[in-house]
């Protein structure tokens, strides 16, 4: 075991992440086997993979964002509803007021940014606990989205829409029989940008450092408030991006929803090795975590179980991940 861990290639990727990839592959094979045994339609189809990916995109952007917040030692419970609020507000602008689609995408991200600034300001400058603050802004996001659309759901245009259908090409492009998963490419690219932001820039350095020991960083003459607030802004802006990918896959958004996605995004993050205590974060881990949750979601449906079973399994995985995190930190000290 130790020998495997010391292998330079394993070290580079990270042992925990390799384990996660194995878990993902095993899970995929297991769902396939169960489907076959129960005489259901095969799980090993392209369609299933695309279904899982559709789920992975919006969840992925949420999880990437919350990785930054968790790295500061905080938490954000508002991003799911913020994503819906963004989708509702921009979608309503598009369908009711005829605002051009490109501008609506910008509006979606801006709505996210506003919530991010609110959360960041209250947490970093007013020292409010992130847990309570984000709970409150979750309510705000749900309520304001609902008020804006007069409690109506919003249907975003289909791919067949000659004027506004193009945004769906961000998710996938169909050329003849082949389908190009553009969403996956965009998600991968943004993940890489996030990884660089976290590991190679001043912002990322200070965000993880202040998550580990905020007072020591402050006493080094660093404006910790600014960097802490930035993490929340990044998180909520990515929720605005997630909104576009949500409607790009599922078209319809209803007011008053979105909180279940918080848990799944945080779960993906923790699974990937980001420590809830702050200071340690892994974008690569989050990426794989998202894929596992998305696969789980599709797999559970494929074997014909209720969605509730997905919560049970995700909950169990999170417990294992958090336990592993605590164990490894105990060893380090």
């Amino acid at each position: 075991m130790e020998k495997i861990k010391q292998n330079p290639i394993v070290k580079k990727i990270g042992f925990n992440r390799l384990v996660l990839i194995c878990v993902m592959i095993l899970m995929y094979l297991m769902f396939g086997a169960v489907c076959a045994m129960m005489g259901r339609a095969s799980f090993f189809t392209i369609k299933r993979i695309f279904n899982a990916l559709n789920y992975a995109y919006f969840l992925g952007f949420l999880a990437l964002g919350v990785t930054f917040v968790i790295a500061t030692g905080g938490i954000d419970f508002s991003m799911g509803p913020v994503m819906f609020c963004s989708a509702l507000v921009s979608g309503y602008c598009l369908t009711q007021y005829g605002v051009p689609l490109a501008l609506c995408i910008v509006i979606s991200i801006l709505v996210g940014a506003v919530f991010g600034m609110l959360n960041g300001y209250l947490v970093a400058y007013w020292k409010m606990p992130s847990f309570i603050t984000s709970m409150a802004s979750m309510m705000l996001a749900k309520g304001l989205g609902s008020v804006f659309t007069k409690t109506q759901s919003v249907s975003w245009p289909q791919i067949t829409d000659p004027v506004n259908g193009w945004y769906r090409k961000l998710v996938k492009i169909t050329v003849g029989d082949a389908t190009i998963p553009t969403g996956l490419i965009i998600f991968a690219v943004i993940s890489i940008i996030c990884a660089i932001l976290l590991n190679n820039t001043k912002a990322g350095r200070y965000i993880t450092c202040l998550g580990s020991n905020k007072e020591a960083v402050r006493l080094s003459g660093v404006d910790v408030r600014k960097w802490e607030a930035l993490a929340y802004v990044i998180c909520s802006m990515l929720a605005g991006v997630a909104a576009i990918f949500y409607v790009g896959s599922y078209s319809v958004v209803q007011p008053g929803l979105g909180d279940t996605f918080n848990n799944e995004a945080i779960a993906s993050c923790v699974m990937g090795g980001t420590s809830m205590a702050g200071g340690i974060a892994s974008i690569g881990g989050t990426f794989i975590g998202v894929m596992i949750v998305a696969l789980l979601q599709e797999g559970i449906r494929a074997v014909g179980l209720q969605i509730d079973y997905q919560y049970v399994v995700t909950g169990a995985i999170v417990l294992v991940a958090v336990y592993a995190d605590i164990r490894s930190r105990k060893r380090r000290n």
């Binding site: 660089i196 190679n200 820039t201 001043k202 350095r205 200070y206 993880t208 450092c209 580990s212 020991n213 007072e215 020591a216 960083v217 402050r218 006493l219 080094s220 003459g221 660093v222 404006d223 200071g279 340690i280 380090r332 000290n333």
Partner: protein, 497 residues
């Protein structure tokens, strides 16, 4: 000489990369106070942690009351009667004294906690120990010394057979130490076995019967206290004779310019109307007892805590320091007494900590130039002789002295002109200590100025060019090193109003 109650034999313990204990022996006897001595990092705490089940030993045997045992965890040790009185007190300050003593085993009346009964029992306990404390008093209202007494009473109430005192006197005043000693002597006469861990030589001479010395994780030897001299013990500890001579005159020229001037600084309850000047190339010692307001003065000056009033001038220019950011901008660096909390980010690497205050120097466009970062970190590691395998090692793996060097490297990278060293050698072994002294002397020779807060009298007398003494938040004295003695500093440090 009492019978042996506990023996540790051939105890061996390794952590990744460190052989913390190398076949260490220890013998504790009834009715005796055993001093456990050694420099920091000698392995005293590790040995005690092995004893009380916080760490698992790799090798060796522990025999307690004739039986070989290994405690699973501290509460198992406590149950068996082996109890540590920690340096940091584990008290809940909002509860009463009695509630603290009986925590976890509250006396019940039906399903309710019987506070009256607990007060009564605690009062009995205090009477037995000749301690004068009201059991119904809130713990937070007591002095540190009294809190320590409560901790001891709590240990006794657990029917302790072996009590380990881990640097009990660190936060106590002279009178409180006397009271503590009275209780310890009393317990000794009643046959209690005790281990006393301390760095203060005079206390060792005053209170202990035997001294066991450790060095670098090994057992050096055990001697009878009254048959040995201070130098004998120090020689065993360091393996060489050290001689610390005080500075006799200031190294600062009379006409050296004033780099920092503080006027009528007020901040909270602990800093009252403090004024002083710091000259170029000077080491200005801040002496005083614990709680004299020295750290608070430094923190207010550095902008770490808000100040109520007062003016600060740097090189004659009035400056407005509202946050550490401002202070750093004006070239002030602060090395905290509590490195782990305020100095280093322990989960990050040596390199990351070194560049913490100077990130902008290490940017290549938007990105961090990690190569340059590593280079600079290596330069400091070599110059300061920091013991670390690589600059990518997380600081948590370094010893106290080496962590301090990382903090120093952080401010050297920043090239600060005014450095505040708050207890620069607390928790650091003697070897690293003299290295830090040499470094401080080099810094002032380069024209930097240092404010040194220190509770160690020898350190103050050895390093300072001038000494400022504080008591209860006020400046009670200022004295040139040529006139400073232990006695006159101590006198000023106790000038209560």
């Amino acid at each position: 000489m009492g019978e042996v109650i506990l023996t540790m034999k051939g105890i061996d313990k390794s952590f990744p990369g460190v052989h913390a204990l190398d076949h260490v022996d220890l013998e504790i006897r009834k009715g005796e106070v055993l001093a456990l001595m050694g420099e920091n990092g000698a392995g005293k705490s590790t040995l005690m942690k092995v004893l009380t089940g916080i760490y698992k030993k790799d090798e060796g045997t522990i025999t307690y009351e004739g039986k070989e045992i290994e405690f699973e965890n501290p509460s198992a040790a406590q149950e068996a009667g082996v109890i540590i009185v920690h340096q940091e007190l584990n008290m809940l300050s909002h509860l009463t004294v009695a509630q603290n003593i009986f925590i976890g085993r509250e006396i019940m009346k039906g399903s309710m906690i019987d506070d009256a009964k607990m007060n009564e029992e605690a009062a009995k306990l205090f009477k037995k120990l000749n301690i004068d404390i009201d059991p119904a008093e809130t713990m937070g209202n007591l002095t540190v010394g009294k809190q320590q007494m409560c901790e001891i009473a709590k240990a006794i109430s657990h029917e302790a057979k072996v009590i380990i005192f881990d640097e009990p006197s660190a936060a106590l005043t002279e009178t409180e130490i006397e009271e503590l000693f009275k209780i310890i002597r009393d317990l000794r006469d009643k046959g209690m076995a005790m281990v006393y861990i301390s760095h203060r030589m005079d206390e060792i001479k005053a209170i202990t019967d035997r001294v066991t010395v450790m060095r670098d994780g090994t057992y050096v030897g055990t001697i009878i206290t009254k048959d040995s001299t201070k130098d004998d013990i120090i020689n065993m500890m360091v393996g060489r004779v050290i001689y610390e001579d005080p500075k006799t005159q200031s190294n600062v020229p009379k006409d050296a310019p004033v780099v920092l001037k503080v006027e009528h600084l007020n901040a909270g309850k602990m800093v009252k109307d403090v004024s002083f000047e710091l000259h170029k190339g000077e080491i200005l010692g801040f002496s005083g007892l614990m709680g004299a307001g020295r750290t608070e003065t430094a923190r207010a000056l550095f902008g770490a805590d808000p100040k109520d009033s007062g003016d600060i001038y740097i090189n004659g220019q009035k400056v407005d320091i509202k946050s550490p950011q401002d202070a750093v901008k004006y070239g002030i660096g602060y090395l905290s007494e509590d490195r782990k909390r305020y100095g280093v980010v322990v989960g990050k690497t040596v390199a990351e900590n070194t560049t913490m205050a100077t990130m902008e120097k290490f940017m290549k466009g938007l990105f961090i130039n990690k190569k340059k970062e590593d280079e600079v970190a290596w330069t400091h590691v070599k110059a300061l002789k920091t013991k670390t395998p690589t600059v990518d090692t997380e600081v948590v793996n370094l010893s106290g002295g080496n962590q301090q060097k990382v903090v120093i490297a952080k401010w050297l990278t920043r090239d600060c002109d005014i450095l505040i060293f708050d207890e620069p050698t607390r928790g650091i072994d003697i070897g690293a200590k003299s290295e830090i002294y040499t470094l401080m002397n080099e810094l002032v020779a380069q024209g930097k100025s240092i404010i040194m807060i220190s509770s160690e009298m020898t350190e103050v007398l050895r390093m300072s060019d001038r000494v400022i003494v504080m008591c209860e938040g006020r400046k009670t004295g200022e004295i040139d090193i040529s006139e400073a003695t232990q006695e006159n500093i101590m006198h000023m440090a106790t000038l209560r109003k």
